[in-house]
Symmetry: C2
Subunit: 419 residues, 2 copies
């Protein structure tokens, strides 16, 4: 919430959860659509009715609305299953609304388009060192890339329903980037700088952009990418800083002010190396990219952030002893922090994302070791540690996914627009 500026306006009946007459339909549209989205096989109207407890008549009426709004389509005849009139499978429309995901990072810009089904339809990446570039220029380049992506989406018959921008930093209310240390940004008012670009122009009164932290959106990407996956997990992105996205019960936990996930300053060695945060022995100083590179004896600091990880992976693959030792140490430090978090939150899954994804083969064993040492319940309830399925650049995909996900969760907003 704190990380959003101008959320889709909250319309009727949302006042304090009161249920008015029309909310009935509003809620049931969401229930039915969610079920279609979550099913692994295209469900029938009758099946949805049986599962939800609604009447077949009601489900039919609701589905008619969803089809008219281009959110749902009927699948072609299903494989026969038995006697009786064959069911017509329902699937999410792949030519309806889509989400635009954007990312500004230290050494690349990215834009991607994800449709309702969660498929990545387009993915554009521009590599460039953005540290010397002013925020205004960086955002102008991003707007150009976004326009390109939007054109590609339109060619596919898709309608962009909104956009989400991932930045590697703390985001406050109103899309204000308070601090993005690795970009050198401080108090950058993204909406203001984008004013005038097509990105920022409301379509049908719906504000087009939300700004959020990169780690948060990457965690969401991971959540959407595995609909049958765990409902609660910790997603750690190891870049220059270390960020974590916390997904609890299937939704992102943002914290009291939207600044959750600061795991980089978890104390792994309270009397240890001083950290720029003022504390001592922070995780970042032991498992951050700079620390790993230094320990591996690489000149490091000059490398682009995302090539550093692959570089380390190559060296480790080749059996370089210094690199292997550096990764083992980093993994152990990471494991201490992860174990603390798992103890506290009772999570059953930890995802290594961002720069950690390619390094997972070497980081995972020490992390698992620390967990089994330190997590009380690990003995009778194992904790899974695995690399992110989306790998790096999952933040843009996650951002785009969060846009379409909002439509699935509250289809009335889209239906009112397109009616």
């Amino acid at each position: 919430m704190a990380a959003m500026w101008q959320c889709q306006e909250v319309t009727s009946a949302s006042t304090a959860g009161a249920v008015r007459q029309g909310s009935l339909r509003e809620l049931n549209l969401a229930v039915v659509l969610r079920r279609i989205a979550a099913a692994d096989r295209p469900p029938s109207r009758a099946g949805i009715a049986a599962d939800t407890g609604l009447t077949r008549a009601t489900v039919s009426a609701v589905v008619d609305d969803l089809i008219a709004g281009r959110l749902v389509a009927e699948a072609e005849p299903e494989p026969r299953t038995g006697a009786g009139r064959p069911a017509r499978g329902l699937v999410l429309a792949s030519d309806g609304p889509a989400g635009l995901g954007l990312e500004v990072n230290v050494d690349y810009l990215a834009a991607c388009v994800v449709d309702l089904t969660g498929t990545v339809r387009h993915h554009l990446v521009r590599r460039a060192d953005l540290r010397p570039v002013s925020p205004a220029d960086a955002l102008a380049r991003l707007a150009a890339l976004a326009a390109e992506a939007r054109a590609a989406a339109v060619r596919d018959g898709l309608t962009l329903a909104g956009a989400a921008l991932a930045v590697p930093g703390l985001v406050g209310d109103g899309g204000l980037v308070r601090l993005a240390p690795n970009l050198g940004w401080r108090d950058v008012d993204v909406p203001a700088l984008l004013a005038g670009h097509s990105l920022a122009e409301p379509v049908d009164g719906v504000p087009p952009l939300v700004v959020d932290n990169e780690a948060n959106l990457a965690a969401l990407g991971e959540l959407y990418a595995r609909p049958a996956g765990p409902r609660s997990f910790l997603h750690i992105t190891g870049e220059i800083g270390i960020g974590a996205g916390i997904v609890l019960d299937g939704s992102l936990y943002r914290g009291a002010r939207g600044w959750s996930g600061e795991i980089g300053h978890f104390p792994v060695q309270p009397q240890g190396r001083p950290c720029r945060c003022g504390g001592q022995g922070c995780l970042e100083r032991y498992a951050g990219q700079e620390a790993i590179l230094a320990a591996a004896g690489l000149p490091g600091a000059e490398l682009p952030a995302d090539t550093a990880a692959t570089r380390l992976a190559d060296l480790a693959d080749a059996g370089d002893p210094a690199t292997l030792a550096a990764l083992a140490d980093a993994g152990a430090a990471l494991g201490v922090a992860v174990a603390g978090v798992v103890n506290l939150l009772d999570l059953d899954t930890v995802v290594l994302g961002g720069g950690y994804a390619p390094l997972a083969p070497w980081l995972r064993p020490p992390v698992v070791a620390e967990i089994s040492r330190r997590v009380l319940t690990a003995a009778w309830a194992p904790v899974e540690v695995r690399p992110a399925v989306l790998g790096a650049q999952s933040a843009a995909v996650g951002g785009a996914g969060s846009v379409v996900r909002r439509i699935v969760d509250r289809p009335v907003g889209w239906l009112a627009r397109s009616a």
Copy 2:
């Protein structure tokens, strides 16, 4: 969820959130009742209508149902405010349903009765060392105490709507206490042992008891005790072990399996003292009651758990240097852990409860110091650290509160029963 056995049966319309015709009333009953509960002044029907967006007609109908069900009462004439017909204030009934909160701990049994308004109507405590007592005997004594409390409630015209039992340990599905180290309990099947006692007899088919972790219920007690307080906070109970209840967005976070809050093994000194959990340098070894007592030079281990805290407070009050040093060290260790949690979850409040409550004057400064050193966002968003308002034994009160809270959140369950 994992910590509950036999939750109130989930009736109509709860299937996957589908909203059926009758759910409309069900939901609006909850909306109106919650608003009455949350208001700081008795609201009028018209005011509720304006706030929620419902019609005055609807609110009147809903309120009629709530009054008929003894959940709401009309307050006496309000102080005049202006022209027009005076409003009739609505308040939660103080003679309707009530919750029974129970607690088994190392050196006492407790039972308390809380009415809908959150007022503690009765509170019985029996001091006794329960470590040498078998679980069956302990629960039999508890059942006797509960019967006493129930009789007192009935004399007040209250109807007990359920009970919650707090135990200092891990609770699994079905009310099974997996492990309560300080009680010496392991795999104790509470419902089975209580079978036959009046506590376990369903009333009108509603199962009467839920079993939960002490730290969780204490955190809920804190939440209910301050309706206008923070929506997210960490509640730490320092007993022999150290437990934490995590309240996020106004509801308790239990974790993937119901075992969240294990902060006692947070690594404050990863290469430090070995801990019985197998790890090293766990918080418990530095800020646990035994550790503090040992550092203060007290024979300690023999003291009952809750007198140990007051004993330490007395010594600190008297200026005993060893005690003051011990508390400073414990506070620093606690601060390291708390800072890590606050960084991760972006909480704005930390509550020192249980045995830490009386020690707060001495623990708070070092905790605050570590937070301001280590929490990045502390500079522009302060973190409040304060003692629990309920002090010790808040678990029983919190448990009783959770019973009545369930009624406020879903009044239909109660109305169906009492109709």
